[in-house]
Symmetry: C2
Subunit: 245 residues, 2 copies
């Protein structure tokens, strides 16, 4: 076989052609990104996972991302060190209290204090750089505009504008290969995301969602926990992770 | 005065109104970014300079940026640590030889090996995050499409697409304040940039441009040195920095 592919150029092309296409997946260790990864794998991509140590208040999510990357057999997982605390501005990176809700509280509709300035823009930009080096033309990000809780950088119009910019920013764009920002969760409710993941065999016990966990257990009271719990309730599935009470 | 401003709301508005408008300036320690900073100052901005330790082969440029920030009295200068080497792909961050030219060689027209994937996109994204925290609505970047030497992320269409994305990415965009990516050097030749800088009193001895300096002296042979030397020649001014020979 090797001999044939070396000798006959057409065969070389053929075997290059069936090489798996690559995708970069932003992997936070949360419920959305693990589902995104499962979808990318189902679509036949060779997956390269990227996580960030960005000065977040807790790093359990990075341990979770590492475990997920291993168990879901991604080709490579890198954790990029960046320090968003240098310019501050969010309850997720600074010593500002994460808002807690009582049971049945509604999640706020405005831009919340937990919003990190330009976070998705920064994350996507690193993914774009890595994609360019890997010759990957797809970047998966688990943004969601249904339960997005007021984050400007989770809206469809933002993603479209990012994709357009990305295609002008890179060699690929200049050379005519199209880079795509894949957002398979964009229009799903949290319940639908969980149902999709379960249908793909996702093990949600590997994930963490809480903004403010205590001894590895989720608080059950922050915006993020409330959305997660609501999602599992909608999906009719028991959340497999542990909560404080 | 304090009493008046505290007591009379209109006065408070008036004094807020004459507060200097803020701008974030990407400052590399090179010829273009110092000129950009001088232009932003001339336009009346309170300047916040941002540099990056991005795994570049040499860090003299960060010392230069620090000195420039101090001498040109920026309000604040931060150096953000990021590691672009994690995904490699450029002669500026990996152990790939920087191409050297002989005298009178033309600088290559294609995308060069010194191109760092998604670098400007990553830098602008951090600037965007800081701008959002500072409530600055202007980001200055010294990109240039005349001598841009084949970098996709130095073209006007890229900057326009970035600005559009930035306005969808942030609170400011959502709340209707327009963020602007200022590129005052975009259509100037290197000679015109230097003339502009000189007219604003820029001290170019504070800068470094070389991709591959030896003991603090510039090589005079890399793409970047060749463009700089050509620029000073065009401007009819002697380059005040030291070269290897």
């Amino acid at each position: 076989m090797l001999l044939i592919t070396v000798l006959i150029p057409q065969f070389r092309g053929f075997f290059r052609g069936i090489k798996m296409k690559k995708a970069v997946i932003l992997l936070s260790g949360g419920l959305d990104s693990i589902t995104c990864l499962a979808i990318a794998k189902q679509q036949g991509y060779e997956c390269y996972a990227m996580s960030f140590r960005y000065g977040q208040r807790h790093t359990i999510e990075l341990d979770k991302a590492t475990e997920i990357a291993k168990k879901m057999k991604v080709k490579e997982h890198i954790i990029v060190d960046i320090d968003l605390r240098k310019f501050g501005g969010s309850a997720l990176t600074e010593d500002i209290a994460v808002p807690k809700h009582k049971k049945n509280d509604k999640v706020e509709a405005n831009i919340p204090i937990t919003y990190v300035p330009a976070r998705n823009t920064i994350f996507l930009s690193f993914a774009l750089g890595w994609a360019e080096v890997l010759k990957a033309y797809n970047i998966f990000i688990g943004v969601n505009s249904v339960d997005y809780s007021g984050y400007p950088d989770c809206r469809p119009e933002y993603i479209q504008a990012y994709e357009k910019m990305a295609n002008l920013a890179t060699r690929e764009g200049v050379e005519g290969r199209k880079i795509k920002i894949d957002t398979p969760l964009l229009k799903l409710t949290k319940g639908e995301i969980i149902q999709k993941g379960i249908s793909l065999g996702v093990d949600y016990s590997l994930t963490i969602t809480c903004y403010d966990p205590v001894n590895g257990k989720s608080c059950g009271k922050c915006d993020s926990c409330l959305l997660r719990l609501k999602g599992f309730k909608e999906a009719g599935i028991k959340d497999p992770i542990q909560y404080v009470d």
